[in-house]
Amino acid sequence: MKTDELIAMLGTNVERVDHRQVTRLLGLTVVVAVAIAVGTTLLMLGIRADALDSASLVFLGLKLGFAAAIVALGAMYLAKVARPGGERMAPVTIVALPFIAIVLLAAIALAFAPSSHWNNMVVGDQWLECLLSIPIIAIVPFAVVIWAVRRTAPTDLVRAGALAGLVAGGISAIGYALHCTDDSVPFVALWYGGTIAICTLAGAILGPRLLRW
């Protein structure tokens, strides 16, 4: 085939395309994925019984805020990195900010608590459930996000995969937070932060296989 023939073919009857469709697609994907994660949590685990007590509302808000900040920042950078060449304009380290913030808050909380409470604050009652639930709930949202990113031709597959994992982990944490009854900042920092980091790592490893185009 001659290249001129190919150009003639591609350049005949060109369809109009909307350059905003990438942002719209990713936005819609995040909304759908959050709905899936919340739905999965409510169906499999159920909402925490004391969800409307004022004490638990504070921690519910903290967990949701932490997870939502991760999802928002991650999705913002994913919208850049998901396109060809996008990795060059996105200083990805900013997505670490929510992690740094929660670790600082956890350090403050520990500093003000007697050391005999530390073990209970960090390990909590349900650390194993948290460790397993967040990655498991994240699987379907991760698949949905990857499906979307495959349509946007990323050129740095490791980074795009990592961000997809981060967003999916954050979305999963939004869902799991509705169930989780461990109310301490160090617990959220370690187990939420840690599991979301695991999701990010898994995304970085799977990215080059799943995102090729």
């Binding site: 085939m1 290249t3 150009i7 591609l10 009857n13 109009r16 350059h19 060809p84 031709a153």
Partner: protein, 174 residues
Amino acid sequence: MVAGLAGDAASHRMLLERLSHHLRAYYKSRLLRGGRSVAEAEDLVQDALIAIHTQRHTYDPTQPLTPWVYAVARYKLIDHLRRTRASSADVPIEDADEILARDDHAAAESAYDLNRLLARIPKKMRSAIQCVKLDGLSVAEAAGRCGVSESAIKVNVHRGLKALAALIAREKIA
């Protein structure tokens, strides 16, 4: 590019034409150095052109075009080197400007045979591409000739081009 995104076929064709020259220079300089053939470089030019066409919705018009084109071109080069199992020769990220600095008009022929490739995609897509892209019928005329709706024609053209790109990619592994 922006006019092409809005559906202006003449601008789009002109853009692809000009980009093909830059892409050819880029791929030749990368591949010939490693002792590979001109036809191989031409394969890549065509791969990159198809990718630029089918992924044009990912270009953000508020950003400069060159880095976007370069990212696609570089991705296709690395992918090609990986598929053909060459040691991934150093492909530096710095020379985004280099791609527009050189120009190569001498169109060679790639190893792809369009008719043979077309014969391997589903019939609906093939006839849609034949009508709209090769015979130059409008979408409405093509819909009339194939007896399907206009949106079906559009979808089949789009899917058909993607299927062609996938066939080309698979052919390389073989």
